[in-house]
């Protein structure tokens, strides 16, 4: 089958490419990148994307799809639908499922569930068996089954010795260890520790709980020569630690979630559990530091930490409600609205953070805009203004603080695996 995408601006910073052109895709493969006369290809389906920007398919390296074990909240398919709707053609899903992704069987199960979907689902394997912090998971076996990185996300790797061994071991396959940075003995609160937590009387989590474990990861990566990736970085001091480490040449990368560059702990004042996440919303100085870190490259990518929870779980009392919000369908809009349109990141930087760098960190191929390559595109309408409405979300869960938020810029189509998602529908192409 042939489709023609008319009037695109093709932007791929990985190829230094910024070009106005039409694209002909044949059976999912790029067949032509040139001006195409539609009348000469009467069989082809034509999409008029005049004025729209085509970038390599976006990739979110931190999502929770809850399958197996929490299918009432999200499944591999519903999560992938949400990803496609949000403009993503690939994700990496975290291993805190039940059972955890700590065996080849679970890795294969997830890959099998995602088979045939537009969105590429790449499992992250657990660092330790059952994420219990007692012994290493079979990392080589997980890798061979398709795991693209390792994490005990939800908690940090329990001990420095386990993390050291994981970093050493993962060197054999050049995989990163993705750390949820939180010192267990300082954790356990419901919000960031600040004057706001004092005022609200909620138990709190200090930023130093994050900073300590960021530092531990950096020092161990430096010592072992392994690769550490800091998940959902949220504190100013942690950003500084990563910046200094990168200057020293440590193999460290970092991601930030949109809620950490758009919201502060002031939002907790109404005790709405849709503002409860871990790491918690910090203060304005931290938000500023995250944006600065994104600007100067200290923070390599933006990742949603998409964490679906059921309504009944989120309706629990604030101290008992689970942490996390869904984010796949607001991530791009928030990034474009708050960072691109406000002049904080260039469009090239946005593409690096949302498409190129996550794949580089996980050693995945970056989509190339060349004849003969697989079409893996996200097509953006940068100026489309809308209010995010959770009613239209494809996720099975509704836990978002961004319902009703005014956004500018969204994905209008994604193409991958010989499929297009356009106008709310998947079609084979």
């Amino acid at each position: 089958m042939e489709i023609i995408l008319k009037g695109l601006r093709l932007l791929n910073p990985d190829q230094n490419l910024d070009l106005l052109s039409d694209v002909l895709i044949k059976d999912g493969i790029i067949d032509k990148i040139e001006n195409i006369d539609v009348s000469q290809n009467s069989d082809a389906k034509v999409f008029d994307f005049s004025g729209k920007v085509c970038v390599p398919g976006l990739f979110d390296m931190h999502v929770h799809f809850r399958e197996p074990g929490g299918e009432d909240k999200e499944t591999v398919i519903s999560g992938s639908n949400s990803a496609a709707s949000g403009g993503f053609t690939g994700v990496a899903c975290m291993p805190n499922t039940n059972p955890a992704i700590d065996s080849a069987e679970v890795v294969k199960f997830i890959i099998d569930r995602a088979k045939g979907h537009l969105v590429d689902v790449n499992p992250i394997g657990a660092v330790t068996k059952g994420r219990k912090g007692e012994g290493l998971a079979p990392m080589l076996e997980l890798y061979d089954a398709g795991a693209v990185g390792f994490s005990d996300d939800g908690t940090a790797v329990k001990t420095a010795s386990l993390l050291r061994n994981a970093l050493e071991y993962a060197k054999m396959i050049d995989s990163p260890i993705i750390e949820h940075c939180e010192d267990e003995s300082l954790a356990g609160g419901s919000m960031n520790e600040s004057v706001v937590s004092t005022e609200l009387g909620l138990p709190s989590i200090p930023t130093v709980a994050e900073d300590l474990v960021v530092m531990r990861g950096i020092l161990l990566a430096e010592y072992t020569g392994g690769k550490i990736h800091i998940a959902h970085i949220s504190s100013k001091r942690s950003v500084e630690l990563v910046r200094e480490a990168k200057i020293r040449g440590v193999d460290v990368t970092a991601e930030a979630a949109p809620h950490h560059f758009t919201l502060t702990d002031e939002c907790v004042r109404n005790f709405d559990t849709n503002y409860k996440m871990n790491p918690p919303l910090r203060q304005q100085k931290d938000v500023d530091a995250i944006i600065e870190g994104l600007q100067d490259g200290t923070i390599d990518c933006i990742a949603s930490d998409h964490a679906p929870h059921s309504i009944e779980d989120k309706e629990l009392e604030y101290i008992y409600a689970p942490n996390g919000i869904i984010g796949l369908e607001t991530q791009l809009g928030l990034t474009l609205t708050e960072l691109y349109h406000k002049g904080k990141l260039t469009l090239e930087q946005v593409v690096e953070k949302l498409a190129l760098n996550p794949r580089k960190i996980l050693n995945l191929e970056i989509p190339q805009f060349e004849v003969g390559e697989k079409a893996n595109f996200t097509i953006l309408d940068l100026d489309y203004e809308y209010k995010f409405d959770i009613k239209y979300s494809k996720s099975k869960s509704k836990n978002t603080p961004f319902n009703g938020r005014e956004l500018k810029g969204k994905s209008i189509a994604v193409i991958n695996n010989s499929k297009i998602y356009f106008d709310g529908q998947f079609q084979n192409i």
Binding site: V195, L202, S204, E312, Y320
Partner: protein, 308 residues
């Protein structure tokens, strides 16, 4: 005269006139409590639910007694721990109780913010009887009442709250209420028990009890949670008593005129010596009586207030 709000969620942002009105109304009810027949028909026909999700003896008894003295119909609901763990969600419980047509809910909960949440899911008038480490407004009010009763005023007084400020719901209510009434509020305790950004509340912080005592007119001494704090926030109960305990010797040395309050229950020999507790027992037990009067005042003012 009526209160500006339909609920009492905390003392933050409660205007001076409201606090004044509650304190003055309590005087009337304090008199009722001295009569041979201690009951008035004021809230006859009103239904009040005491929704206690956390253990409480004193506060619940005090509220219950206040309700009975006002002739309200009361029902009690006690539960502890996460609502989900018990099978029914908090929201469903509240919705069920509300379906029984209640006028007011008095709520104690270990999670901060629950009283505010109640105002969103219920049409009843809500009184916060303590939420997490957040607020305990009727305790704040009764402390103010007790101080005013003893000293005759609140304005310009130096009031120091002593103990574990971080984990206290009484501290914030005291701070907000007393500041609104023109008192200077300070806190005193080991630095592990002083919460983040205390100075931002306009509160002076002491780590030295002798200094705090010398510079204060009133000490409001909070209970130390023995089982939770020893070995964690403080090395031992003994060290706490030696460095922060209120003793007769300290009072005589620093400020013989200082007024000692304690919201109870008292740990004798920990935050306060037996000698001081007994010496101040009249004030401390009077606080308990005042608590009933204050709760009667709050229940009366909210219960008879017409919805706007």
């Amino acid at each position: 005269m009526s209160l500006s709000s339909n609920h009492l969620l905390g003392l933050k942002d409660v205007p001076k006139e409201d606090i004044q009105l509650i304190l003055d109304t309590a005087i009337t009810f304090r008199e009722v409590l001295e009569r041979p027949i201690k009951k008035v028909p004021t809230l006859q026909g009103k239904t009040i639910v005491n929704l206690f999700y956390e253990n409480s003896t004193r506060t619940r008894l005090s509220f219950e007694l206040a309700q009975k003295r006002l002739s309200a119909d009361t029902i009690n609901f006690s539960k502890s721990g996460s609502s989900a763990a018990k099978g029914e969600s908090f929201k469903d419980t509240v919705k069920n109780i509300e379906a029984m047509k209640v006028d007011m809910i008095v709520c104690r909960h270990e999670s901060a913010g629950i009283p505010k949440y109640l105002t969103q899911i219920s049409n009843a008038k809500i009184i916060n009887a303590g939420d997490g480490r957040h607020e305990h407004p009727t305790q704040g009010l009764l402390d103010m009442y007790s101080i005013r009763e003893k000293v005759g005023k609140l304005e310009g007084l130096n009031v120091c709250i002593v103990g574990d400020i971080s984990h206290s719901r009484v501290a914030l209510s005291n701070i907000y209420g007393l500041q609104t009434m023109g008192a200077n509020v300070s806190v005193c305790g080991p630095s592990t028990m002083i919460p983040w950004g205390m100075e931002d509340f306009g509160v002076k912080v002491y780590n030295n009890i002798d200094k705090a005592m010398a510079e204060s007119d009133v000490l409001n001494v909070l209970r130390i949670q023995l089982e939770r704090d020893a070995g964690v926030l403080i090395p031992s109960v003994r060290e706490y008593h030696n460095y922060f305990g209120i003793t007769q010797e300290r009072i005589e040395k620093n400020n013989p005129n200082v007024l000692i309050l304690h919201p109870g229950p008292i740990n004798r020999g920990v935050e306060i010596s037996s000698e001081v507790a007994d010496g101040s027992s009249q004030v401390i037990l009077n606080q308990v009586t005042n608590g009933v009067a204050i709760r009667m005042a709050v229940l009366y003012l909210l219960g008879t207030k017409s919805e706007e």
